[in-house]
Symmetry: C3
C-alpha cells in the first residue's frame, strides 16, 4: 500500500468560510516571514553554546517531551518503554535504550494525537525541517527514523544553523536563580549574547516548600558573598543574582507558584517567616504567605532594575505520586487547578499596579479567569499585561478562546504577543506559525463581520506577531 501523503496545506487553521479565509490569507502573508521573538521558553542553552549535533530522533523528539509521552502513557504504554529513565535504579523494570524501538512505538500510536496541537507541531517538523513527504505510520516509521538521523548528522541541522534557518531574532531560555549561566557566558563570548538570553527563575530560593530550600539559600549566599540567612542579606543576594542574570541578557523574571497569591508583609513578619522557612518549620499557609510576599519584593526589585515580571500560577505539580517518585518532575502529571486572581493579585497591584514603569505579565491555566478577572484587571492597571494562552491552552482552540474572551474588555494592546514556552526547539517555528495563523483568522473574522477595518487588521497582525512581544519584554 502507498503511504498517505504528508501535506501542510497553505490554508491550514484558517476559518473555512470563503471570504474570511481570503482575508486571513492576506493578513498571514504579511506576517508569516517576520522574525521570531521567543521571549519565554525552556530550550537548553547548551545547544546554542556548544552547537553539537542532536543525538537521534527519539532523544530529540520523544523522550524529553512530556506532551508526547504522557499521551501514550494515558493509553497504557509504560514510560520505560518510551525511554523515560527512573530517577534511581530501574527496580527490575527494563528501560528501552534503543531509540529506533522507541520511535517505532511512538509511530504506532501516532493516531492518538489526532486533533491535538502536538500533531500539528510534529507534522510541521517532519515536513519543513526534515522534508518528509509521507505521513508517519507504523509502515513509515523506519523511513522517518533513517531520514531524521541522517539529517541530524549534517551541519545544517546543528542548533545554531537551525536557529538562523528558523528566523529567530531572539530566544529566552529559563534558568534557576543559582545557575552559573556558563552557557550564556559562552554565548556572550561568541557574539550570540543578544540572540540567546536567559530569564531569572527564582522559585527554588523563594518557595519554602521547594526541595532543599535552606540549602538553596546557603548556595545563594555563597554565590553572592552575602549572608543570605539573614533576611536583609537574602534580599541583597537576590538583587545581586538579578543583576548577574541581567548582565547575561535577561530582560525578565519568571515565577511558577502554585497560586497567584501575593502579600505585602511588614519587615518583621517577613523576617519571621523567612526564619521559619529556613528552619523547615513553616506551615503550608505560612509558605504560601511568604511566596506571596516575595512576589511583591520581586515587583519592587523590578521597579529598580527594569526586569519584566512573569507570573505563571495554577499548576498542581506532580499529581501522580507514583510517577513522581519513580521518574521525577515534568512527566506529564502537572494538572491545572481553579485559580483566583482578583483577590490574589490585589496586594501586589495595590502596592505597585499603578506604576507605568513596572510590567507584570500574568498567565493562566484557568480559562474561566480570562473574561471574568484577567481582562478587567489588565484593562485597568497600568502595570498589568496578559500573557498568551499557555501550556494546555497553547493550541488552536485555546488561542481562539483567549482572543474571544479577553479582547472585548482588555483590547489587543494589553496583551503581549505570543511566546512558545517550549523545550522542543525544532517545533518553535511551528508554534509561532500556529499563533500567527490563529490570530490572523481571528482578525479576519472581525473584518468580515465589520467589527474591524481591514487596514487596522494589518497593523494588528504585525503587532501580535512581532512588535508587542518585543516591546512587552523590553527586547
Amino acid at each position: 500500500m502507498n503511504a498517505p501523503l504528508l501535506a501542510l496545506h497553505p490554508d491550514r487553521l484558517f476559518p473555512a468560510e470563503r471570504e474570511t479565509r481570503a482575508v486571513a490569507r492576506a493578513l498571514y502573508a504579511s506576517v508569516k516571514d517576520l522574525p521570531i521573538i521567543s521571549p519565554h521558553g525552556h530550550t537548553d542553552p547548551a545547544w546554542f553554546a556548544e552547537d553539537a549535533p542532536f543525538a537521534n530522533p527519539a532523544d530529540l523528539l520523544i523522550v524529553p517531551d512530556h506532551y508526547v509521552f504522557r499521551m501514550l502513557y494515558s493509553q497504557g504504554v509504560a514510560l520505560e518503554d518510551l525511554g523515560v529513565r527512573p530517577v534511581e535504579g530501574t527496580n527490575g523494570r527494563a528501560v528501552e535504550t534503543d531509540p529506533r524501538a522507541i520511535w517505532r512505538r511512538f509511530a504506532s500510536h501516532y493516531p492518538l494525537f489526532c486533533g491535538t496541537p502536538s500533531r500539528i507541531w510534529h507534522d510541521w517538523v517532519y515536513r519543513e525541517v526534515f522534508g518528509l513527504e509521507v505521513r508517519l505510520t507504523p509502515q513509515t516509521a523506519d523511513l522517518y527514523y533513517d531520514r531524521i538521523s541522517e539529517r541530524l548528522a549534517q551541519p545544517a541541522f546543528r542548533p545554531r544553523a537551525l536557529f538562523e534557518r528558523f528566523g529567530i531574532e531572539v530566544i529566552a531560555t529559563t534558568e534557576g536563580a543559582l545557575d552559573d549561566l556558563r552557557h550564556h557566558q559562552k554565548l556572550h563570548a561568541d557574539g550570540w549574547g543578544k540572540k540567546v538570553i536567559t530569564t531569572f527563575r527564582p522559585d527554588q530560593v523563594l518557595d519554602p516548600e521547594f526541595e532543599g530550600f535552606a540549602a538553596n539559600i546557603g548556595q545563594l549566599g555563597a554565590l553572592t558573598g552575602e549572608d543570605a540567612f539573614s533576611y536583609a542579606g537574602y534580599l541583597r543576594a537576590l538583587a545581586a543574582r538579578r543583576a548577574f542574570f541581567k548582565a547575561m541578557g535577561a530582560t525578565s523574571t519568571d515565577h511558577g507558584h502554585p497560586s497567584a497569591m501575593t502579600a505585602d508583609l511588614s519587615l518583621a513578619a517577613a523576617e519571621r517567616l523567612f526564619a521559619r522557612a529556613l528552619s523547615g518549620e513553616i506551615s503550608a499557609e505560612e509558605a504560601e504567605l511568604f511566596r506571596g510576599h516575595m512576589l511583591c519584593e520581586m515587583a519592587r526589585m523590578s521597579l529598580d532594575d527594569g526586569l519584566v515580571m512573569q507570573i505563571h500560577p495554577g499548576s498542581l505539580r506532580n499529581h501522580n505520586q507514583h510517577v513522581f517518585a519513580r521518574f521525577g518532575r515534568d512527566k506529564g502529571a502537572d494538572i491545572p487547578t481553579r485559580t483566583d486572581y482578583v483577590r490574589a493579585l490585589r496586594p501586589l497591584l495595590n502596592k505597585y499596579g499603578n506604576e507605568p514603569g513596572l510590567r507584570v505579565i500574568v498567565f493562566t491555566l484557568d480559562e474561566t479567569s480570562y473574561a471574568r478577572e484577567l481582562a478587567p484587571l489588565a484593562g485597568h492597571y497600568p502595570a498589568l499585561k496578559l500573557g498568551p494562552a499557555w501550556w494546555f491552552h497553547d493550541s488552536p482552540e485555546g488561542m481562539r478562546r483567549f482572543r474571544e474572551q479577553t479582547t472585548e474588555t482588555a483590547g489587543f494592546y494589553n496583551t503581549v504577543g505570543f511566546n512558545d514556552d517550549t523545550r522542543a526547539f525544532l517545533s518553535i517555528p511551528a508554534r509561532h506559525d500556529v499563533a500567527r495563523r490563529m490570530d490572523c483568522g481571528f482578525l479576519a473574522k472581525l473584518v468580515v463581520e465589520h467589527r474591524l477595518e481591514e487596514d487596522e487588521a494589518f497593523v494588528l497582525a504585525h503587532d501580535l506577531s512581532y512588535r508587542l512581544a518585543k516591546e512587552a519584554y523590553r527586547l
Copy 2:
C-alpha cells in the same frame, strides 16, 4: 389555516459553511446506520421484559420526563396540571388524570422548547416513530394524540419491536444495589440477556446520607447472607451484589455522589465511620469522607471483577424543597454545582490510576473542568477516561463545547463515545443521531481547516459512534 410542516432536514445540525457541510454529510453517511450502543441509561427493564404496550402519549412522553415538565413549570404551569402526582395525597389540589388534557397543555406550550434539545428529540419521535408530518401546535394536538395512541396499540410499537427497529445492539439499564433484577432475569431467560443489561448503582448503600441507609444495609445483609453491619461483612456483601449484577449482564457500576471526592482511609478509620453511619450520628463531612472512601473500595473491587466504574458527580439534588416534599425526587430541580476533580480524584488516582486494567469513566456537569482538569487528567492517567457531555450538556452546543475543550489535550481516544443517559426510550435514536451529527460536524471542521486528514476523520467518526463505547464499557 394550514398547519406548518414537520420536516427533519437531512442536513440538520451540520455547520452551514458549504464545504464543511459536505464533509460532515459524507462522514455522517458512513455512521448513521451503525447499531446503537447505549451503555448507560435509565430505561425501565420491565418494558423489555414484559413487552406490554405503552399506555398513552402523555404517560409515555410527558408525565415521566422532567426535561419536559420542568420547562412548563418554570413558566407557571402547575405540575399537577401535567399529571405529576404528589407523593402522598393531593392536599386538595386536583391532579390532571385525562392524558389528552395533559397533551393539549403540553402542545400549547411547545414553543417554550425552541432552541432546546428536547425539541429536537421530540420532533424526531413524532416524525420518525409516529410518521407525523405537521408540527405540534394547539391546533394539531388532537391529531397528534390520536395518531400516537393508535400506533401505540399496534404490535410494531411495543418495546421489543421498537428496540429492534431502532437498531439497538445493547442497552444498559441502571438498578440499585438492592434490586432483585427480576426483569433482567426474565430477559436472560428469554434470550435477551445480551441485549438488555443492568448497571450496578450502589448509592443507597454507600452514601450514609441516603434515605434509610441503615435499613438498606440491613437489606443488603439479608440479600447476601452476610453480616453487613460489620464492615468486613459489608464489603463482602457489596462484592456479592456486584457478582450478581455481573451475572445479569452488568459490565459497569455507576456512582452519583454530590462531589467527586475520593479518600483512601485506614481500615480502622473506615470501620469507625461505617459504625457512625449506621448509628445515624455521622456528620456531613464524615459522610462525604465515607462516600469518598467507598469509591476507592469500588475501584479496588473493579480491579477484581472487571466492572467499569462510572462517576457522575456534581448535582445538588432536590434544590426545591417544596417540590421535593410534595412530588419527590427527579422533578427537574437537580442543579449542577462547581465541581473540583484535581484534588478530589487524587486519592483514588494515586492508589489505582496507574493500573491499565482499571477503567474509571468520569462525567461532569461543570464544563469549566473540561479543559482545565479532566482533559489533563485523562490525558495522563491510564485508568481514567472521559464520559461524554452529560445531562444539561447533552445538547448540540454542549457536545461542541465538550469536543472543543477536551480534544486538544486528551485526544479522542481518552473519551468513550456517546451514551444517552435517558429514561425516554423513544428518543434514544434521536439522541445518538444528534451525537453522531455533532461529532461529524466537529470532525468536518477539523478537516476543512486542515487540522485532520479526511481518511482519519472517517475512522474517527466510526470510533466515536460505535467502537469506543463498546470497548470502553467492555461490551
Copy 3:
C-alpha cells in the same frame, strides 16, 4: 493624506457565512425599527427633566465613561489628563480642564479600542448621531470636536429630542432609596412620567457595609416618618419608599450586593443583626447574612407591591485602593469575581421561588454560571428569569456566549430581552442595535442548521428585541 472613511456596514455583526447572513439580515430587518425598551440603566433623569444642552464632547463622551478612560489608564494615561477630578484637592497634580485637549488625547489612543464594544458604540454615535463620515484619528480630532460641539448647541440634540429620535418607548433610571426623585416628579408633571421611570435601588440602606449606613437609616426614618432604627419601623419605611418609587413609575427594584447570597432569618435574628449594623459592630459575615436576609424581605415586599426584583451580584468594587482614595467610585476598577448561585439563592428560592406572581431577574458577571447554574435554575423555578449578558459581557462575544450557554436548558422564554445598563445616553440605540444584530445572527444560525424553523425565528426576534423586556419588567 485622506482620512479613512467611517462606515457602518449594513451587515455588521452578522455571521459571514452567506446563507446565515441572509437569514440574519431578514430577521434584523423585521426588528431594527422596533421601539427601544430600556428597563434598566443609569442615565441621569436631570437630562430629561431639564432638557438642557449637553456641555461639550469630552464631558459628554469621555470624562464620565469608565469604559473609556479605564482603557487609556491601563496604557499609562493619567486620569487627571482625561479630566477625571480627584474627590478632594488635586494634591499638586493638575487636572486637564480643556475639553478639546481631552478629546485630542482620547483620539490619539482610539486604536486601543479595536475589537471592543466601546469602539462599536462610539462609531455609531459619531456616524448616526453626528453625521461624521471619516474615522476618528489624531488628524480628525479637531474636526470631530468642532462638529460635535456645533451639533450639541442645536435644539435637535437636546435630551428630549434625542429621546424621541432614538425611538425610546420607555427608559428606567436608577435612584438610591433616599433620593427625592425631584426630576421624576418634574417629568411626571410634564407628561413624561410614562417615558422616564425610576428604579428602587436600596443598597445604601440594606448593606451594613455601605458608607454611612446608620446615617442613611436615620435619613430613611426622617423621609418616611417611621422609627427606622427599630427593625419593624425599618421594614415599614422600606415599604413606604417602595410605594413612593412606584408612584414615580418604578416597576422594579435593583440590588447590587457583592454576592448572590440570600438568607431567611428568624425575626429575632434579623432584629439582632440590624441592631449590630446600626451600632457599627457588625462583622463581615454578619453583614453578608443581613444583606442576604434583606433580599428575602425585598422578595416578600415584591409579592405585595408587584415590583420586579433585579439582582446584580458579583462585582468586587474599588479593587484599586489608590484610585478609589483619589477619585472615588466607578473609575473602572470594579472587577468581577467567581459567584455561586446554587446555594446562594436557595433560601430565597425555597421561600418564594414557586410563586408565579413573583419575578426575580438575576444577572451575572461570572459566565461559568450560565450553563451550570443559572439556566438550570431559571429552567425550573417559576419566579426566576435570566437577565441579559451584563457589563463586561455586554458585547458581541458576550451575547453569543449568553445565548449559546443558556438557551438549550432555559429556552428563550426564561430570559428577559436586552437592557443597556448604561449612563452613556447617546449610545443607547447602538447598544440595542448590537443586541438585536447578535440575537438575529444567533437565530439565523439555528435556522440554517435546521434547529429552528424560520417562522419561529421571526417571532423570537421580535420577542427578544421588544416583547420580553416589556413583559418581564411589567411595562
